[in-house]
Each structure stands twice: as C-alpha cells, then as structure tokens.
C-alpha cells in the first residue's frame, strides 16, 4: 500500500511552528494551557462521523476506524496492542484520536508530518490496518444513497476518495477535550500540587508541554519492548510487513521497535517515540507506544525510577525521588487533564448501516 514517508526535517519544521504559535514560558517550555477551538463544518463532520464508524470502508468490510479507536476508550483501544486488520495483529498501541486534529505529526514513530488527510489515507490503505483499495471504497460510497446525499450536502459532489480523506479529518476536529478540570480551573488541591511537580521536580514539562501537553518530538524513555509483538506471529507479521515496506535494514532479525529510526534511519533515533499528549488519559489505558504500562500510577513509577533501560535513553529521564504523596498528586494532576467522555450521539454514529447495498434502478439507462 502506498505510504508517504515524511522526512525528519518536515516533522521538525512542523513542530517548531507549533511551539512558536503557543508562546514560550520562562522555563523555556511552552506553557500548558487551554486548547484553541477548532471551527468545523457540520455537514462535512457529520459525513466523516458516518464514515468513521462504517466497516464498509475496510477491505473486507470487517472493521471500521472505531474498532481500534473506540469512543468508550477515548478513541483508543483497551488492549496493549491494537487489533489490526482481520488476518493479522498489530505491533503498537492504538493512540487516542481526541485532539488529534491539533497535532502536526502522527503515528508513534512520527512518520506522517503533513496533515490528517494523509494520515486518513495511511490508515485506510495500509494492508495490516484497513487494507482498503480506495477505488472500491469510492464505489461502495456511491452505492449507498445516504452517502450520495451526505457528500452532496457537504459540498463534495459525488462520493470520491478525496472527499473521504477530507470528511474524516473534519469529524476528527470535533473530537477535542471538553471541560477538563485543568481547563475549567476546578482542580483539586492534590491536582494543583501535582501540576507544580509536573512543571518542577517531576521534570515532565521538558517534553509534555504546550496546550496538547506534548512537544510532539521523538524521545527515547527506555520503555521495555512488548514481547507479544514478537512472540505472537499475528502481531509479528504486521511488524515484519511494516519494517520491510519502510526499508528498515535487517528487519527479519529485529527484536525491538525501531520507532523514529524509521523516519531518519539514524542510529541515535532508534527507540524514540513521539511524546503523546497527556490529555484524556483517564480513558486511554494502557499507556506507551506498545501499551506496556497498564495504569497511571505505574507510569509515574516508571518515570520515578528514571525510565527504562536503553543506552540511547534521553538525558532528561532520570530518577525523581518522589514521595508517595507526590506520586499521588502527580496522578491527580494527570487525571485533571481528562474532560467529558465523547460518547454521546454528537460524536458517535448510532444509526444502522444498510445490511446490503441497494441496487441502482434502471441501471442500463442511468449514467454510472
């Protein structure tokens, strides 16, 4: 499947752009603040919503976007490793899509640094993800009168691949944090103390900064490998296919996720992953690129111990000597970054999809 591999330069340039837009606080890191609102087109977003929950936009019509990005789980998946396409597994944790429209780099390894249109195409067409031939997807959409009307109402004309790639990102723009205690100013005292630790002694702010609470850069924190990637051939085949296609040297013998190395092919980037946003963590366990850490207290413990073991681990990650109370405060702050669940009908397509494609009547007389 076609994959656009962005260069490291593209990502860095994009990242700098975001940092400048947000303003830099005295410590040198962009402060954590509320997310700006995103303007959305209701008709386009509604179409994107129907597409997002529609299994017919995967190759064998077996899975939808929402099967790996589940509303009840913060548009992530509760398993350590994403399920992947039927017939194979996956090798990374399904990332939350809440606030994804605020990002400018996507995938744990940062291989897409352009826009959500490209990211949507990547997820739809990648063989171990949705394995969709987009020409078939287009013709499926044209066979469903509901879509024909919705594409028209959205101003896209007749259904097309290009419009699917625009409508899904428009829907994703609606998936943004709402009423997080941090944003509303209604944080508990414990959370407030946690915020001070976050910005100070915990050092979290070094990478988790700005409104998204991420620098969107790649770092190596020494997260241990998830052996299920390699011991389960269903997951391993997806990993092998991915690394083969991406041109990673010696991919058959690889026993670790190369991470950002995939983008740069520079040894120093081996094992780096893009800093995730810390918003909506309440819903999106387990954590890290491979789901190796099950809960927030364990995440805090991981960093308190100075991260994991890796010779290329970032210098920013070192033992923190947090007390028991400090750890609890930090967790309280992290939880205060989660807002309302986005599980209502405003976000989730709840109408049935037709069990069969209706026939186009007078087929020989009408234009295709």
């Amino acid at each position: 499947m076609g994959v656009l591999v962005t260069t490291g330069r593209t990502i860095l340039a994009a990242t700098i752009g975001l940092g400048m837009a947000l303003g830099v606080q005295a410590s040198g890191y962009p402060d954590i603040g509320p997310l700006p609102q995103l303007k959305t087109n209701a008709a386009k977003a509604e179409l994107g919503k129907r597409l997002f929950f529609d299994r017919r936009i995967s190759g064998d019509a077996g899975i939808s976007c929402a099967d790996c990005h589940m509303p009840d789980n913060g548009y992530a998946h509760p398993d350590a490793l994403s399920p992947g396409y039927p017939g194979n597994g996956h090798f990374r944790n399904s990332a939350s899509l809440i606030n994804t429209a605020h990002k400018n780099v996507w995938n744990w390894d940062g291989r897409i640094g352009t826009n959500l249109n490209d990211m949507t195409r990547e997820m739809l067409t990648e063989d171990y993800i949705m394995n969709m031939d987009m020409r078939i997807m287009q013709e499926r959409a044209k066979q469903d009168p509901v879509y024909v009307q919705m594409f028209k109402d959205a101003g896209y004309g007749e259904p097309s691949n290009g419009s699917v790639r625009k409508a899904i990102p428009e829907y994703l723009k609606t998936l943004t944090s709402r009423n997080a205690p941090f944003d509303t100013g209604k944080m508990s005292d414990s959370a407030k103390r946690g915020m001070a630790l976050f910005k100070g002694k915990g050092g979290c702010m070094q990478c988790h900064n700005g409104s998204l609470v991420t620098d969107l850069k790649a770092h190596n924190t020494g997260v241990p490998e998830n052996f299920d990637v390699f011991l389960d051939p269903m997951n391993h085949q997806a990993f092998v296919a991915f690394t083969m296609f991406q041109g990673i040297p010696d991919y058959m013998n690889l026993k670790r996720d190369p991470g950002y190395y995939n983008v740069t092919l520079e040894e120093q980037d081996m094992g780096k992953f893009v800093t995730p946003s810390l918003r909506e963590l309440k819903y999106t366990a387990p954590y890290m690129h491979n789901g190796m850490i099950a809960s927030l207290p364990e995440v805090v413990e991981f960093y308190n111990n100075g991260g994991g073991k890796d010779s290329r681990k970032s210098d920013m990650v070192k033992p923190l000597n947090l007390s028991g109370q400090e750890k609890k405060d930090l967790v309280a702050f992290l939880e205060a970054l989660s807002g309302d669940p986005l599980t209502g009908s405003g976000f989730v397509w709840s109408e049935e999809y037709p069990a069969e494609y209706p026939v186009i009547e007078n087929w020989r007389q009408v234009r295709n």
């Binding site: 396409y85 039927p86 194979n88 394995n131 490998e225 390699f230 051939p233 092998v240 296919a241 010779s311």
Partner: protein
C-alpha cells in the same frame, strides 16, 4: 465423488515435461499457423514449461500448499483455491467468481486445469504467464486483495515454508516472487490429457460414442466451432466477440454494481467510458481499441463437464444453453446479445441445428472431459514464533 489421487503421476508427468519439452518449446500446435484453415483437433501434448521456472517435485508440492493457503491473500481468508475449488471444477460454480469478502467479482472463475497451455491468462488476456496471473489474482481488490509485504511476512513466520522455500529456491526467507513461481509449477502439473477425445485421436476409435462421433463432424463442419475451438487445446487462444449479452445481475445486485464501476475505474477507462459502460468491454482494456470491445479469450472445450457456468460472465449454466446460443447466431433465449454488435465476429451466425444435432454436439463436447480431478486439501503448516523469550530478553538487555 470419486477421489482421484493423482499427485505422483502428475509429478512424474511434469518432470518428464522438462526433459521432453526442453527449453519451453511447446508441444501444442498454435492456432491459425497452418495455412488453409484452423488447426486440426489433436491430442493434448505436454504443457510448455518456461525455462526460468522449471518443474521439480518439491516445487510443485510447495506450490500446491501455497495454492490452498488463504494466508496468500489479504485477510487470510481468500487464497487461490477459494475461487478455484477442486470440487467446483477448480473454478467457482456461480456466474461471477465469489471474490474477496465484502465484494463479488465481475467475471466467471476459470478452471486452472490446462491453464498451463495458454500464452495469455484471464478472460481478457491481461497476464502473459501463470506466474503473472497468480500475482494479479492474489493482489486484486476483488480477488485476493493481498499485499506483497504482508504475504511475504506471513510465510517467513511459518517454519515449514522457510524450509521448503530454502530447498526449492535457495533463499534464507520466502520471497513473494517465488510464491508465484511455485504456484505456477503446481498449476502446470494440473493438466488433463487422457480424455475420451484424446484417446480417440490417438487411435482408440471406441473411445467416443456414436453420438460424439457425429458431434465431432458437426463441430468441425456445420456448426463451425472449430473456427475458434481448434488445435490440441480446443482454443485458438485469441480474442473474439461472439455476442455474449451482459449479465443481468448488474441490473439487480448492488454489490455487483460496485465491482462493475470499480473495474471500469481500475482498468483505465476514460471518464466517458466509466460513466456509460454497461457491460464488460473485455479485450478493449488491453489496447483501448474500440474494435476490441466485447472480445474475450476463446475458452477451451476441455474439462467443461465440470466447469459450469460458462462464458466470461457465467451467463449460461448448461451446455444446452451454450449450444442454443450459438445456434441462434449469438443471441440468448430473450434475444439479447453483446453491447457491441459492430464487433461481433462474422464467424457467428445461425446454425440451423436439429435437436438431435444439438445433443450430438453436446455428447462430443463432454468427450473432452476425462474423469473429474479431485484433490484433498493439504494440511497447511502453522505459524510459529521466530524468536524465543530468552532471545528477546537478551536483546532487551543489550539495548
């Protein structure tokens, strides 16, 4: 059903082919080469073997496994044998092939029996070898919908395949390119050369019934079938518009309409062609010449007893319907014909066959089928982890 276990003989035949046929010299007569008329009917010789993919028993056996293995496909549900079922004539017994889950195909699945003899594969000749056919079918969106990287990755995680690919091709890891070679080697072993008609042509005059002998005369004479169905293969391997009407399923089945438009799109139709096409334009898609609209490759008469329905879009379910169609000069019972009558072959005209002549003709057609070739599906080798936990722990430690 009579389960015919034929692997050893086929392997022997295939190996002998290499010795006899030398460097791919075909032992069949090519239609139209002879002056003064179509190539005469002849017993089927050994199939041509390409010099870059010689037959070996180990390769054929590996190809057989791969042919039956649905992991050579998109979601590990749809392999070659899924649409080329041994007990459905190594084809699919519906008008359109079943296609990848979530789709239906738009053409009839052809038998792999004797596919080895064709210089071009598929109904419109889009693949120039079995190897290329296997690849296209495994990857096509309404067929296998597989991708090279994932299919190759799967095979690498199956120890039995690693062993066999190394033995056959000498590679450390299975290569997808070699998958198509092995499958083709298996297909080239799937030939039928001992039909009643082959025996008859080799001198056994008792091999055909009297009806079939009369049918042979009609085939070669009054009915004119031999004009295209000639030579040892009973196909000139060329492309003709014989007047097959579009399948009405496109007017009645939403899923089929999706695939219909997808095919116009995927095959590089013009915008206007995509908007207006209401039938399969066939050989047109190769060279985009308007005179090729509605042309399809002459199907062989061989093995037809087991491969209903017939024609590129499976519109006829019995040989009786087929003969009636030709008898009417290329019209079905409702008077329907090709969307491109201007391209219809002048060879197709009303035949004026009597009922007895029709049944004689069918008796002859059936004499081109020997015993049904059946095969038990092989037990497929299983995945196994490539690394041990200890190896992974050591790698983690060394990070």
């Amino acid at each position: 059903m009579n389960l015919k276990k034929h692997t050893p003989t086929l392997v022997a035949a295939a190996v002998a082919t290499v010795l006899l046929a030398g460097f791919g010299v075909t032992s069949i007569s090519i239609a139209g080469m002879e002056k003064g008329g179509p190539a005469p009917l002849a017993p089927l010789g050994l199939p041509p073997i390409p010099p870059d993919n010689l037959q070996t028993p180990a390769k054929i056996e590996l190809g057989k496994l791969l042919f039956f293995d649905p992991r050579v496909g998109g979601d590990a549900s749809t392999g070659c044998s899924t649409c080329h079922e041994p007990d459905q004539g190594w084809a699919w017994a519906e008008d359109f092939s079943r296609g990848y889950p979530g789709t239906v195909h738009w053409r009839n699945s052809q038998t792999i029996i004797n596919s080895a003899y064709f210089p071009r594969q598929f109904w419109a000749g889009s693949a120039s070898s079995n190897e290329k056919q296997a690849k296209s079918a495994a990857k096509g969106g309404v067929a296998g919908n597989g991708e090279d990287d994932l299919m190759e990755a799967r095979l690498a995680l199956i120890p039995e395949y690693r062993k066999r690919f190394k033995e056959v091709f000498g590679t450390e890891w299975p290569h997808i390119f070699d998958v198509w070679h092995a499958i083709s080697a298996f297909e080239r072993s799937m030939v039928q050369r001992d039909t009643p008609m082959d025996k008859y042509l080799q001198g056994d005059k008792r091999a055909l019934s009297e009806e079939a002998v009369r049918g042979k005369s009609l085939f070669e004479g009054k009915a004119g079938c031999i004009q295209c169905h000639n030579g040892a293969l009973t196909s000139d391997t060329d492309f003709h518009n014989i007047g097959i009407p579009p399948n009405v399923r496109w007017e009645e089945d939403g899923l089929a309409q999706i695939t219909f438009r997808f095919e116009q799109y995927a095959k590089g139709q013009t915008e206007e062609g995509y908007r207006t096409a209401k039938s399969d334009w066939g050989f047109y898609y190769r060279g985009k010449n308007k005179w090729d609209r509605g042309k399809f490759r002459t199907a062989p008469i061989r093995y037809v007893k087991y491969t209903a329905p017939y024609m590129h879009n499976g519109v006829f379910y019995t040989l009786e319907e087929v003969v009636d169609f030709y008898d009417r000069g290329g019209f079905d019972e409702d008077g329907r014909t090709t969307d491109f009558p201007e391209n219809k072959s002048p060879l197709i005209k009303p035949l004026g066959l009597t009922d007895e002549e029709k049944s004689d003709l069918i008796a002859f057609l059936e004499a081109y089928s020997g015993e049904e070739i059946l095969m038990e599906k092989p037990e497929l080798p299983e995945y196994a982890p490539l690394f041990t936990k200890a190896q992974l722990e050591a790698a983690q430690e060394a990070k």
